[in-house]
Amino acid sequence: MIKKRIIPCLDVRDGIVVKGIQFKGLREIGDPVELAKRYNTLGADELVFLDISATDTGNALMLDVIRKTAKELFIPMTIGGGLKSSEDISAVLNAGADKVSLNSAALKNPSLINETSEKFGSQCICIAVDAKWVGAEQDWYCYTHGGKKKTDIKTLDWVKEVESRGAGELLITSMDYDGMQQGFDHVLLSKIKETVNIPVIASGGAGNAQHFADLFLDTDVSAGLAASIFHDEDVSIQEVKNLCQLKGVPMRHV
């Protein structure tokens, strides 16, 4: 039986793992290679590195991080953040990434999904979507720039489109639930699972182990992703897996 995946997400800026703390900017928390290895030992099923560097130097440092991590980490690694072209994606994959996650670039140029899924294979193209409920329109819309800019694209239309264009996976972040630590957005995630038949990674809202169990019991998503609760050690991956297993959710044990 296929296992539900637990995925820590690490934000990397200029080659260092940082974590966003609301209103306080960023704080360095460590060497990406060491953190990746630690998460591997702790039972992470996959790792996501989000490159939040704003400069070319920062992006080059990211490639170095990927190369170093890939030499010592033998679980899947997804890279997102700032990938704009087929060339960017190729560089990241050649450095050792297994998948890339595309967000704004895909919204801006949807044919990039066709082009890259044909070139590199659907399995390595994950489309990240920042979704937010717009009360006035009674629907979810896609946002860009870390949730700051609204687009005119409805989330459910977009996920259907990216599936038909060849994406192999979706990473859905609920902007309404992100950072609230009150649990995942089951309504949005269930709607998305009704719309597409590619695997979905849920993100936004995890505050404790029970939230992951609820997510997997309530929806058909394939994976749950979180950042701060794992980095702050509010909850351990093992704790999440033990509770999920106890509730009947199949988990991989290392």
Partner: protein
């Protein structure tokens, strides 16, 4: 020396990383002489079946592979395993036909691709645990099966016929168990 067949398809950096980590000497090549000199041949592959067959043919690798498959450990991984079989629905083309069986799109109610950690079903104690799969097509065969997984229906996970081995999942991305399986495959395999 392990030779990874370089035919321009898929990301072989990580396979190479894993083999280095296990202490093996690795060469990534499509040079016939180098392939002939290697102790073990690994045929990797990510992407489209038809593209893969076209590339192998363009590089004139079919005769040398055909010869080597009878001579030394020969391991196909992911698409590289699928290529070992007779025919694929993906592009509707013939494969290398070293093993009996065909490759078909995964169907059913579960998401495609079959992506994630899935448990191996195998009698061998060394093959107990979860490994990382990511594929949309799967092999249909009745023979040479060493391990399967279940994704609504059975998925052929490892095959072996003498020195010829196929691994559908990514051993280089399957944690410690994956590395062990990769090493076991290189050292002769699973049922000899």
């Amino acid at each position: 020396m392990i030779a990874i067949v370089d035919y321009g398809l898929g990301n072989i950096a990580n396979l190479s990383n894993a083999l280095h980590y296990l202490g093996h000497d690795v060469i990534v090549t499509h040079d016939k002489k180098e392939l002939n000199e290697a102790d073990t041949i690994i045929l990797p592959g990510v992407g489209h079946f038809k593209d893969a067959m076209n590339r192998l043919s363009e590089l004139d690798l079919l005769p040398v592979l055909n010869e080597l498959k009878d001579k030394k450990p020969f391991i196909g991984i992911c698409l590289g395993m699928q290529l070992l079989f007779e025919k694929s629905e993906e592009g509707n083309v013939d494969g290398l036909s070293y093993l009996p069986g065909t490759v078909k799109k995964i169907t059913g109610s579960l998401p495609v691709p079959h992506l994630g950690w899935n448990q191996l079903d195998a009698p061998l104690p060394s093959l107990q645990g979860d490994v990382y799969f990511i594929h949309s097509y799967k092999v249909h065969t009745e023979e040479n099966i060493v391990a399967t997984a279940t994704y609504e229906e059975p998925v052929v996970a490892i095959v072996q016929k003498e020195n010829l081995i196929g691994i559908q999942f990514h051993p280089e991305k399957s944690g410690n168990l994956g590395l062990q399986i990769l090493n076991q495959a290189i050292k002769g395999g699973f049922n000899l």
